[in-house]
């Protein structure tokens, strides 16, 4: 009786389009989130105590000119209609004109965003490549000197103001040692040599095969990117450590040891697979934070990125630019969220 074959397991339902539902659901939620974001930026644009007409025409416009522009901008329409116009504009990539330099905001963003993207990407790579192993080792060798070092590294990252570290870095590595390039993305001599394809100078110069530009750009980016990398490393390593500790006491870890696996195989084959999902969320979050443009870093290093762009626009009441920048940053968040959601589905069989 005991050996009677048992088939009580329910057969997993795998109909033809089981993958379609999550995709449709994801796209739907992206659309709704996007709509919400645009609605918020739209409302902010309306409630700001800045007259959009005067912002375009200047303070001393005549009444006729004012009325004409008022109408032309659709401000006489009901709010919902105005929102609809705003929506269609944004969907076409039109964020209006910048008051400051009378150029389309979208062009400005296309220029500043790649600068931030380049910086943030190198920063996050540094943060992940160093932070994850550090967190893993700190957890495995809990209480050892390496754990203590990891703790101090993170503590400094949490408590040291970034502008101070940035200025010190510039002073030491640029001012005194001269190992790296100074503020800005390139030395003047190298500017406008390679055609801007992606807007990321490292990529553009690599495409053009101009390695002297590449080297120069690298010498400029290395310090701010390391700085950002350090701050994300602090966060990522701490989170990795606590995820690991949580898993290390799980019973499946004992099973793996009972099988006779080496400790490092247990950790990297069994435990690490179980923290991937949480780790992805943490990394996506840090990356999104960097992509938002770390204003202070961009200012210290004269980095023409989206953070400093939004800030200067805000200070000069250039609302179109501020809202455009905000929409882009929001979009980045949404995209990264969707991305980590998808990876979650791939890596965790229980999510299906």
């Amino acid at each position: 009786m005991a050996d009677a074959p048992v088939t009580t397991e329910r057969r997993s339902t795998a109909p033809l389009f089981s993958w379609a539902k999550p995709i449709v659901f994801t796209l739907g939620s992206v659309a709704v989130t996007m709509l919400g974001l645009l609605f918020v930026t739209f409302i902010i644009g309306r409630v700001m105590p800045i007259d959009p007409v005067l912002a375009v025409l200047g303070e001393r416009a005549s009444q006729e000119a004012y009325d004409a522009t008022y109408k032309a901008m659709g401000l006489d329409q009901p709010l919902l209609v105005q929102f609809f116009y705003y929506l269609t504009d944004v969907l076409r990539g039109d964020f209006g004109m910048s008051i400051l330099n009378a150029r389309p905001v979208s062009e400005d963003i296309a220029r500043v965003f790649p600068a931030t993207l380049e910086l943030a990407t190198i920063g996050i790579i540094i943060g992940v490549v160093l932070g994850v192993p550090l967190g893993v080792v700190a957890a495995v060798k809990r209480g050892s000197w390496i754990d203590q070092i990891a703790r101090v590294v993170a503590l400094v990252g949490y408590s040291m103001p970034i502008f101070w570290l940035g200025l010190m870095g510039l002073l030491v590595f640029y001012g005194i040692l001269g190992w790296v390039g100074g503020p800005g993305r390139l030395d003047i001599f190298y500017e406008d040599i390679v055609p801007a394809r992606t807007g990321m100078i490292l990529v553009d110069s690599a495409i053009a095969g101009d390695w002297s530009v590449f080297r120069n750009a690298f010498s400029h980016i290395v310090l701010p990117a390391s700085l950002l990398g350090y701050y994300s490393l602090a966060y990522i390593s701490r989170m990795t450590r606590s995820f690991m500790l949580e898993q290390l006491s799980a019973e499946y870890v004992t099973t793996a040891r009972v099988k006779g696996m080496s400790e490092w195989a247990v950790i990297w084959v069994h435990v690490f697979k179980n923290i991937r999902v949480q780790l992805i969320t943490v990394i996506a979050l840090s990356y999104a934070n960097l992509l938002e443009g770390s204003v202070l870093t961009e200012i210290i290093f004269s980095w023409p990125g989206i953070g400093s762009y939004i800030t200067t626009s805000l200070l000069s009441a250039d609302m179109n630019a501020v809202l455009g920048g905000t929409v882009v940053v929001g979009l980045v968040f949404i995209v990264l969220n969707v991305f980590s959601d998808l990876l979650y589905r791939v890596f965790d069989p229980r999510s299906k």
Binding site: A2, D3, A4, P5, K259, G260, H270
Partner: protein, 287 residues
């Protein structure tokens, strides 16, 4: 024939209140038999099992006169040599299959891994062996189970998979730490019977840890009764009712029995002297 002999085993944990001794001078031997270890919660059963595999994590400390597996003292082995013992010569099945299988790896991957770690063969061979082993624990559709993830299995299935996985490299000794406590009563029997059959067929030694005296009496050849980290009594399973130690008698009396129904079950009264008395040796003279 003695497979394993444990002499004067201690497991200690440094705590804030001083050193806590979870296992205190336990000695026993194991032949090709089914040895039960019974005791209440916290009496040190699991720690005894894990100490044999040297799986007590720091800051825990294991001390022993010797833990001899067919002439080799496991206490003297390096960690690397010990890894060859684990899985291949001594294996262990744990309490709850829900937690003892890796949730994000397929069952197939986990089974094949158990085999490939010790046998120098191809994946195809490991796969075939895994399928065969799953069939041996009465799983009727092993192909599907290999592709499945642990959360798709019921508890009884999970525990049979665990048994299959732990027996796949053909160990000589299996330590089963409450292998059926997390299961429904109805599937407990099936799982026990499967385990029993495999262990007997392969001529293995079994250390069966449980807090269920009835189960152990029925299932094992010999029983160690543990109390507060010590062995207070050793007896043959079929002569358990002759047990002399008040703790064992107390355990027996606190069990409901069909042939001897009573209104109230007797609560166990403890005596501090039990914890202080030296451990009884469970070493059996070689026959």
């Amino acid at each position: 024939m003695t497979l394993l002999e444990v002499e004067d085993l201690w497991v200690k944990f440094p705590t804030r209140q001083g050193i806590f001794e979870a296992v205190r001078g336990v000695s026993f031997s194991l032949g090709k038999e089914r040895l039960g270890i019974v005791g209440e919660s916290g009496s040190g059963k699991s720690m005894t099992g894990r100490a044999i595999l040297r799986l007590i994590r720091k800051p825990g400390i294991v001390e022993a006169g010797h833990i001899t597996l067919e002439g080799t003292d496991l206490m003297q082995l390096s960690e690397k040599e010990m890894r060859k013992v684990r899985g291949q010569r001594i294996s262990m099945v744990m309490q709850d299959p829900k937690f003892s299988l890796n949730p994000v790896m397929t069952i197939g991957a986990q089974m094949m891994e158990a085999y490939l770690l010790h046998k120098n063969t191809s994946k195809t061979q490991a796969r075939a062996k895994s399928l065969e082993m799953l069939k041996a624990v009465s799983i009727s559709d092993p192909e599907r189970v290999m592709r499945a993830y642990p959360h798709e299995m019921s508890g009884g299935m999970g525990q049979r998979i665990m048994i299959a996985m732990m027996l796949i490299p053909d160990p000589q000794i299996l330590i089963a730490d409450e292998p059926t406590s997390a299961l429904d009563v109805s599937v407990q029997r099936q799982v026990l019977d499967i385990m029993d059959r495999l262990v007997t067929e392969r001529g293995m030694g079994l250390i069966f840890i449980s807090h269920d005296l009835n189960l152990v009496a029925e299932f094992c050849d010999r029983v160690l009764i543990m109390y507060a980290g010590r062995v207070v009594e050793v007896c043959d399973a079929d002569r358990l009712h002759e047990a002399k130690h008040p703790y064992t008698q107390g355990l027996l009396n606190s069990l409901p029995r069909i042939e001897d129904p009573r209104k109230h079950l007797v609560a166990l009264k403890r005596d501090d002297a039990w914890a202080e008395a030296p451990s009884v040796s469970g070493v059996k003279a070689d026959a």
